[in-house]
């Protein structure tokens, strides 16, 4: 791998650069569109920044238009939903993995596979029965309805199970000799050791919750529960007027920011955790 072949280097870099352009170009267009007026965007797709960034931002952040709830409310809803889903999934997964790895009970393997199978059925597949259940429980238009059905799959159980199985049994035995019961061992030993895994899952699951679109559209009809993803879509789907592309793109870019920030912030934790962890 230490060969010095200029042509090969050029080709590989070319492929990489093309890939980046392919992925980043739409994002670039969106960012540029933030800075133009609706009039400009109606006729062309500008590639250079304009001077309307501040007015657009003020417009999106402060002036609610008909059919669109206030931006801050949607941001709050989206954040709350993503965080509840993230925390819920991690809590359920880590506890069920703990049970499966450290306790012997009848049908242990069956329990594991049942949990594992929930991975194969995403919300979209079971959406009609799920909606029926949520509706009959009276959870439409509530945070519970928004989040609980999405929490109800122990996505990360498998991951935690694999990790727990690499933790030496002697650690548990040493803790037993040291007088730590199952709950103490879990809290004092296993949770601190799982820090890195939890951090990684936080990122993945936060983004999973953040980008949910179909489910919130189904279970919410009242504007106070609208999420950002829904709000952006609603802005584009106005019947009477032309879509306000400048405002839509501004909202889109703003909606993109939290996941990006989370990834950037948590990445440091990842690396730190990876370097420090030792079983």
């Amino acid at each position: 791998m230490v060969e010095n072949r200029p042509i090969l280097a050029f080709l590989t870099h070319l492929v990489l650069v093309l890939g980046i352009i392919l992925v980043a170009f739409p994002v670039y267009i969106a960012v540029i569109a933030m800075t133009h007026t609706q009039q400009t965007l109606g006729f062309t797709t500008p590639l250079l920044p304009g001077n309307q960034l501040i007015p657009n931002l003020i417009d999106v952040l402060t002036r609610p238009s008909p059919g669109r709830p206030p931006f801050w409310l949607m941001l709050w809803n989206s954040t709350l939903m993503a965080v509840i889903i993230m925390v819920g999934k991690i809590v359920i997964s880590i506890i069920s993995a703990y049970a499966i790895v450290y306790f012997k009970f009848p049908f242990r393997l069956l329990a594991f596979w049942t949990i594992f199978i929930t991975l194969m059925l995403p919300v979209e597949v079971r959406i009609i029965p799920t909606f029926e259940v949520v509706a009959s429980l009276g959870m439409l238009n509530s945070y519970a309805g928004l989040t609980i059905p999405l929490i109800a799959s122990a996505t990360a159980t498998f991951l935690f199970r694999q990790f727990f199985m690499t933790v030496p049994d002697e650690l548990m035995e040493a803790a037993r000799v040291d007088g730590a019961g199952p709950i103490k061992f879990f809290i004092d030993i296993l949770l601190p050791l799982s820090r890195t895994n939890i951090a990684a899952l936080c990122v993945i699951l936060f983004i999973y919750g953040w980008v949910q679109y179909l489910w919130p559209v189904l279970v919410t009809t009242r504007e106070e529960y609208f999420t950002l993803m829904m709000g952006v879509q609603q802005m584009a789907a106005t019947a009477e007027t032309d879509p306000m592309w400048n405002l839509i793109m501004t909202a889109t870019v703003l909606a993109l920011l939290p996941p990006v920030l989370i990834v950037i912030f948590m990445q440091r934790l990842f690396v730190k955790g990876l370097i420090e962890t030792e079983k």
């Binding site: 035995e173 803790a175 037993r176 040291d178 730590a180 004092d188 030993i189 030792e278």
Partner: protein, 350 residues
């Protein structure tokens, strides 16, 4: 400080695999008993049953006079040192030492006093605030010992604690363990597969094989008077030479001593009991060709192909061997050094 009584203990794993057959053993107060045997002989299982990490199928284990069969490890008031140390990786050395005491609700000043004392004994004061991963193997081993010491338990249980160390450190830590155990006078059970470790550490040695006790006794007793062929082969390095009595009798010029019991069909001779010069008293001679000489410093191990005998004969010569490879030499086997065994039962015959 306590005695440990094991009576009629049995361990049967699911699938009807019996790991321990009806075993009795009593360990005196302050005694260091070493369980030794090949892997799979049940020595670790027995230790883990004493610790409470393994359920007891039948029989009783009592520590300090109380039957502990149904008690959790923590309630048995024992401390265990594991082969891979099992230190809590995210806690500092101090945290590791304190954890067991904190769980027991020991008052803070006492915890501090005990940790300081243990750290002093083990010379780990400079590392108290470090994490286990920042320590070398030997230092981790000391911390694992410290975790046992701070608890001031009724008994220490060691599960091959030195196996992960290099040879030199193993020798040092062996002495250290013996020194600490002597000064604390805590009843200890020590499991190892290393017969040298077993010989040097033990007050009393328990040789196990296939879930049964082969022999119990002082290390030197076992070396001098092995009760079975298994013990004879397991204790001592290089291992004891075993000869078939029929073969020996058929050799020209070999007269076996009259004192040899009738039932003995094999005899064993320690490599260090074989002499190059005819000793006083009864003896017989074997001729052979030197195949290999291993100088190990103060002594040399000589591998010799004896005439008309299939097996290689091993002998230990003090200092340098006075002959070279390929040479023919005569060995003298004193009658008093012969260990007579019955090959069918594997037991010693008187």
């Amino acid at each position: 400080m306590a005695t440990i009584e094991i009576s009629g203990v049995k361990k049967v794993y699911p699938g009807n695999v019996t790991a321990i057959h009806n075993l009795d053993l009593s360990i005196g107060d302050g005694e260091l008993v070493v369980l030794v045997g090949p892997s799979g002989c049940g020595k670790s299982t027995l230790l883990r049953m004493i610790a409470g990490l393994e359920t007891i199928t039948d029989g009783t284990v009592s520590i300090g006079g109380a039957i502990v069969n149904k008690k959790e490890p923590a309630e048995r008031d024992i401390a265990m040192v594991f082969q891979n140390y099992a230190l809590y990786p995210h806690m500092s050395v101090r945290g590791n030492l304190e954890y067991g005491l904190k769980n027991r609700g020991t008052p803070r000043p006492e915890i501090d006093a005990r940790v300081t004392e243990a750290a002093r004994i083990l010379e780990i004061e400079p590392f108290l605030e470090r994490k286990p991963r920042q320590l070398s193997g030997g230092q981790r081993q000391r911390v694992a010992m410290g975790r046992a010491i701070v608890r001031q338990p009724k008994a220490f249980l060691f599960d091959e604690p030195l196996s992960n160390l290099d040879a030199k450190l193993r020798g040092q830590m062996r002495i250290e363990i013996k020194r600490i155990q002597r000064s604390l006078k805590t009843t200890s059970v020590y499991v190892t597969h290393d017969q040298l470790e077993a010989m040097t550490l033990a007050d009393r040695l328990v040789v196990m094989n296939a879930g049964r006790i082969e022999q119990v006794g002082k290390p030197v007793e076992l070396y001098d008077n092995p009760a079975s062929l298994f013990v004879a082969g397991f204790i001592g390095s290089p291992p004891m030479n075993i000869f078939n009595v029929e073969t020996l009798r058929s050799l020209p010029g070999v007269t076996l001593p009259a004192s040899l019991p009738q039932k003995a069909d094999v005899v064993g001779v320690r490599p260090d009991a074989i002499l190059l010069e005819k000793p006083e008293g009864e003896s017989f001679a074997l001729k052979g060709t030197v195949e290999l000489i291993e100088p190990v410093g103060g002594e040399s191990h000589v591998y010799l192909r004896a005439e008309n005998i299939d097996d290689i004969v091993i002998l230990v010569v003090q200092g340098r061997a006075p002959f070279s490879e390929g040479e023919s030499i005569t060995l003298h086997l004193p009658a008093r050094a012969l260990h007579p065994f019955d090959n069918s039962t594997g037991l010693r015959v008187a």
